[in-house]
Symmetry: C2
Subunit: 350 residues, 2 copies
């Protein structure tokens, strides 16, 4: 039996969406239980033999500053959901709330795994091969050292091997050229560390990749700092929205184009399914002593259910233990991080 | 009369594409002259009363290291084209060659304008408003200081006001959130400098923007460092290619979808024109004492002609003088750069 703790109050739509997704999820997985965390008045209507309500009196708003979310709202649905993981009552927590608050609370409540200094957010993006490329960090770790990037690579490899059953997923380092001499000093040093990890068999390092490789699916995993990752993700959202808007505008231009849209409808629907970002919802917060998954804030019930499936798969396939095993295996590589930390930390101020 | 120097040997296709574009360009602009730079044997067939061949015996290959391009091939078509600008024989140079080599040679031959430490590459990307957002730097200035970003904003504003006739184009600072407290130390400091420039009337600073704002067209100009800019541009190329591929695949799946494609053809053609990246070809190398435009290496004749039009517009509208005037106006802001340089330079090593 897998138990997930669900922050039912989070996201742009709250219980209306999260509860609908929970119902669909329970129907799909007979061996799953859910802890529905939130204000009982908002969740009271929901009844299911494999669901229990866990009361939390407060809600972290999408625009709450970290300080408020972390220090003031100690009985928030987000925090109580994560505490269920800490207590062992659930194997994973899922929230569509404020990313910064989720990361801060998860880090505070669960702490990071030995050998990992910063948790990372790993997000799957669809690629031209029909699969998904796992990109991390998208968690706004703005100033990353080379060792942080190496840690992200280890975390991403563990996630990918668990969710896709690929024991040696390939890792690319996001850079501005394929040659090892490209990029900033941090990136070049990260390349050296990743090559060493590849040679020692701890990672399947495929070298530098460029932005277009993410959607080509050149490697299974792409590692970058949180600033670059965030810009990249937001840019792709912007471009996809613009292209979709142009397509709609052209098909609704006049009577003839509307008739063409009817003729092309099955094709356009198939196309839309193929690029449907809802299928890729559910980012993993990696490097914590517990599993936490983040849904997009604007997720509808289909998308939120997808995040629940991901959390379920991760729990069922022992992601946490496998992350820890990988990190233990890579310990000789990760250990120097502590020693070199001051140097990198000073450099990373830039 | 406007004279452009064209590196006819550059790009993936060389004279076959560049000469076809030159012919179309000359037909369109009766007041333009072209200096066709390259190996006479390759250009000999071209005859036009407003075109002259300037011989250059060497060609910079797309994969030539900077060292070779800059120090060994002193009679390359790329270099000779830029030298025409230096000599005053042409008002602008255009090349589809190796970006790194073009930037290095242009900087070596032309030098930067007073007050500008690093040239930047500015690229127009289509936006949902039907216009284009000018993004810079895409020229792989990997480690940028806050002052470099301020300089890029001044350069981009000059370009935009010249090419779009908008005297006070709005500038956004690419960041991971709209609040001033977001981002790395360099970004936060750049935000302070840009706000000061906005208050003194040297720039129309609109604050932080995120990745999706580029395609929304929230601001006329978006400023970022060359690493982020390169990743962003390559990622959008990758996503656009993937979406295009999916759309083609769905329309060619079977007989019925092929019939739907015929019905939808005029709409799809209109859509394709709207997102046709060739319309946006032609990036400006800004901050140099001469005008240089860079075409995408894979440009066809339509795209390369577009780069020629951009260079022509810039020369005709006195981009160089206007960049210099803007920089002179912003001098009190830009001047501290020299004083603070050592601090920033040390920090930017990361």
């Amino acid at each position: 039996m897998i138990t997930l703790a669900v922050d039912c109050m989070g996201g742009d739509h709250g219980p209306r969406v999260t509860l609908a997704a929970c119902r669909q999820f329970l129907a799909r997985h007979p061996d799953a239980r859910l802890l529905l965390v939130g204000q009982p008045a908002a969740l009271g209507r929901f009844a299911h033999e494999r669901a229990a309500i866990v009361a939390a009196s407060e809600v972290v708003a999408m625009d709450d500053p970290l300080e408020i979310a972390l220090r003031k709202k100690k009985d928030s649905s987000m925090r109580v959901a994560i505490e269920q993981v800490k207590l062992g009552a659930a194997q994973a927590a899922v929230s569509a709330g404020n990313t910064g608050a989720l990361m801060a609370i998860a880090r505070y409540v669960l702490k990071t795994v030995e050998g990992i200094e910063r948790p990372a957010i790993a997000y799957p993006l669809p690629n031209a091969k029909g699969g998904a490329t796992t990109v991390l960090d998208l968690g706004a770790n703005v100033d990353c050292t080379a060792h942080h990037l190496l840690q992200f690579a280890v975390l991403g490899s563990a996630l990918d091997s668990v969710l896709k059953g690929n024991e040696a997923p390939s890792v690319g380092l996001l850079n501005i050229g394929s040659e090892a001499i490209k990029g900033s000093d941090v990136i070049k040093r990260a390349g050296e560390l990743l090559r060493a990890a590849g040679q020692s068999g701890d990672l399947n390092f495929a070298g530098n990749v460029e932005g277009d490789d993410i959607f080509k699916g050149t490697t299974d995993i792409v590692v970058c700092d949180g600033f670059v990752g965030n810009v990249m993700l937001k840019t792709t959202e912007g471009l996809a929205a613009m292209i979709g808007g142009f397509l709609r505008a052209e098909f609704s231009r006049n009577l003839f184009t509307r008739i063409a849209a009817v003729a092309a409808y099955p094709v356009l629907a198939a196309f839309r399914r193929r690029v449907d970002h809802r299928r890729y919802n559910g980012a993993a917060l990696l490097g914590l002593r517990g599993l936490v998954f983040k849904s997009h804030g604007s997720a509808d019930d289909v998308a939120f259910e997808q995040a629940l499936h991901r959390a379920y798969d991760a729990a069922r396939n022992h992601l946490l233990e496998r992350v820890q095993a990988r990190i233990a295996h890579a310990a000789p590589l990760l250990l120097p991080a502590a020693a070199e930390q001051p140097v990198d930390a000073a450099a990373s101020v830039a």
